[in-house]
Symmetry: C2
């Protein structure tokens, strides 16, 4: 504890400071691993779907087949958006950031279907898991194409549902599964900034929607969820691997920040990166701009050679999403659709053994000084 306290003093940002307990996940034990409820992320990403993971995170155990089927059916039935929410979404202009659409949509839903004894925290978690894809695509199709889409679908998975709404046709199996895996990888990550913000909101005994809204607003930043979009912007600057290699070396010489590399907690590697990298490579084989995978791999190589930095989950998620035909400005919203599972689990956990989260600050401002009346200033 002493070292932690000293580390904070030196570095700030609560780095290395214990802010509470969690039974939901472990991040970066020995610098590398990630487990959800004790299960290694590698096994989960290979064999489980996002809905299994959401259930695992929120209810604590993997669902059996009956539970999973019921859960999927329930989420499918919850996809219809209420009229008031659609009215608000239609008032959001085409120029808006899609993260602001989700932040506003979630906040609006909280006014229409508030938390209560009969609309409980798990009801709201289900409803948000079910409606976030529809909120985003409803707004998008309304503002970009002038159509009011039907947000129901017979796609059973969140990944398939999102792709179905976005493209207005049934997705290919490989794209559906690639997106499903990425949602598994993005679903939960211990006391990251957005989850910690959600827990602080929960700690005042605020309602469930307020906690999620804090999570969305916090995830929006470039140092958090926004990193996958920033990585895409970087990658698409280059057309070939050699061009990327030269370009990145030049950027490093110019001390430019390269997005999608390194991590606050992981020190050796991000276990999610190798998994999503394989999907990026696989989809690249048939994707229109498949060469972007080679560009990405070249960037990774230079970053390792020059800086000993490894790619984090955001880096190869970017090309994976691109190969799925998803516009760049939906990358961070997809992170929300996954992380809402982790946030929900953390809000529920915070409430079980709550204490107001309220740290102290070191004061660096003016010493006590006498007040001067308005007429005597200037």
């Amino acid at each position: 504890m002493v070292e932690n306290a000293l580390a904070t003093k030196k570095t700030g940002g609560l780095a290395g400071v214990i802010a509470g307990q969690t039974a939901i996940s472990t991040v970066g034990k020995e610098g590398i691993g990630l487990t959800y409820r004790g299960y290694d992320i590698g096994a989960l990403a290979t064999s489980a779907s996002f809905e299994e993971i959401a259930w695992l995170l929120i209810y604590g155990e993997l669902p059996d087949e009956t539970e999973l089927n019921h859960y999927r059916q329930r989420l499918m039935q919850l996809r219809t958006l209420p009229a008031g929410l659609k009215q608000a979404l239609e008032a959001i202009p085409a120029t808006a950031h899609p993260m602001d659409v989700l932040r506003t949509g979630c906040s609006m839903l909280g006014t229409l279907e508030p938390e209560s004894d009969t609309h409980t925290q798990t009801d709201i978690a289900d409803r948000l898991l079910a409606t976030l894809p529809g909120m985003l695509v409803y707004w998008y199709q309304f503002q970009y194409n002038g159509t009011r889409i039907d947000t129901t679908s017979d796609e059973e998975t969140t990944a398939g549902y999102f792709l179905h709404l976005l493209k207005d046709k049934k997705p290919e199996a490989s794209l559906r599964r690639a997106l499903d895996v990425s949602l598994v990888l993005y679903a939960e990550h211990e006391f990251n900034a957005s989850t910690f913000a959600a827990r602080i909101t929960a700690s005042t005994l605020s309602d469930f929607y307020s906690c999620i809204v804090s999570g969305i607003g916090t995830l929006r930043g470039a140092l958090h969820g926004g990193a996958n979009e920033a990585a895409m912007e970087l990658i698409t600057q280059f057309k070939t691997a050699p061009e990327a290699e030269a370009g990145i070396r030049k950027m490093l010489l110019e001390k430019q920040k390269i997005m999608g590399f390194g991590h606050r907690v992981y020190k050796i590697s991000d276990p999610r990166s190798d998994i999503i990298k394989l999907w990026s490579e696989k989809l690249a084989e048939t994707a229109k701009e498949g060469y972007l995978y080679e560009v990405s791999a070249a960037i990774e190589k230079v970053m390792w050679e020059e800086k000993h930095l490894f790619p984090n989950v955001d880096f190869y998620s970017a090309t994976t999403y691109h190969f799925c035909g998803i516009p760049k400005f939906f990358f961070t919203p997809l992170f929300v659709m996954a992380r809402v599972a982790g946030w929900s689990a953390h809000i529920i956990e915070q409430r079980k053994d709550n204490r107001l989260i309220r740290p102290d600050a070191v004061y660096t401002g003016p010493m006590p000084r006498p007040f001067v009346l308005l007429a005597q200033r200037g």
Copy 2:
């Protein structure tokens, strides 16, 4: 630092843990005081208006007369709500919690007037200071009375503006000043939960609105801003001082929680309470239900005798607002209209010397366990 760390381990909630630096305010030095930018809260509440305080917090120094006049004029000119915001507010039902109205209204405004190089953080702080009262009362008058109000007013102060909109007539000077003082008292409070949540959101480099939205959602909880409404519910249970005294003793025997007393940081007294208590007493002289002041004083007396607990700012704010003719469910929104000044100052400060706020957690969940395929579960 060692004691702080040990205290955390024992108590949680980051109590006593230093989470960063601030030059904006000091809270509870020697268990009692509160200063904004070095000025004692007593002097500020006696002689300054809320707009002076907002300027002081956001820009670092007290404004001179010219600056204050320009600032007031600017805020007055920013009171018109954009059409898209009104459309969203009209979609929020009458049953909604007014804090959810502000959370949604602020989030919506962020989609209409996003932060940019030409719409900067201080522009947005101004705009929110100017529009939050109008958002709330526009929604209220639309849903409760079916009218679309004009949100402009020639009232120069935020306090007067709010009362003018709410009652559709010019407020009495004593009510305007009482509300003004309460906004001064609520404007800023160091690393309280809502401000810390706003700083975490800022620390990912998210936009200004997202930070404020986190603040609103976090303030909403009963352990934070919601306390003034809870205090009012307590006080109005009693008709006389003796009835209150007996009632509170009974509640204490039954181990019921009494809202509006004690504080995480202040250990001896809340310096804001004595100030707002004087206003409650003064307004009680002519208020319709002035006896509620005597009821409050009786509750304070019992709480001190029985528990050695002092009233915090929320306790006498409740009757002060009630004597101003403000409905109870607007008490916490008024807290928002004041604290938006402090949040804005903290977001600007966090951005100046930013580091991602990301603590660690102690893991208490299942040990690593082998994954079981879906078909083999149950």
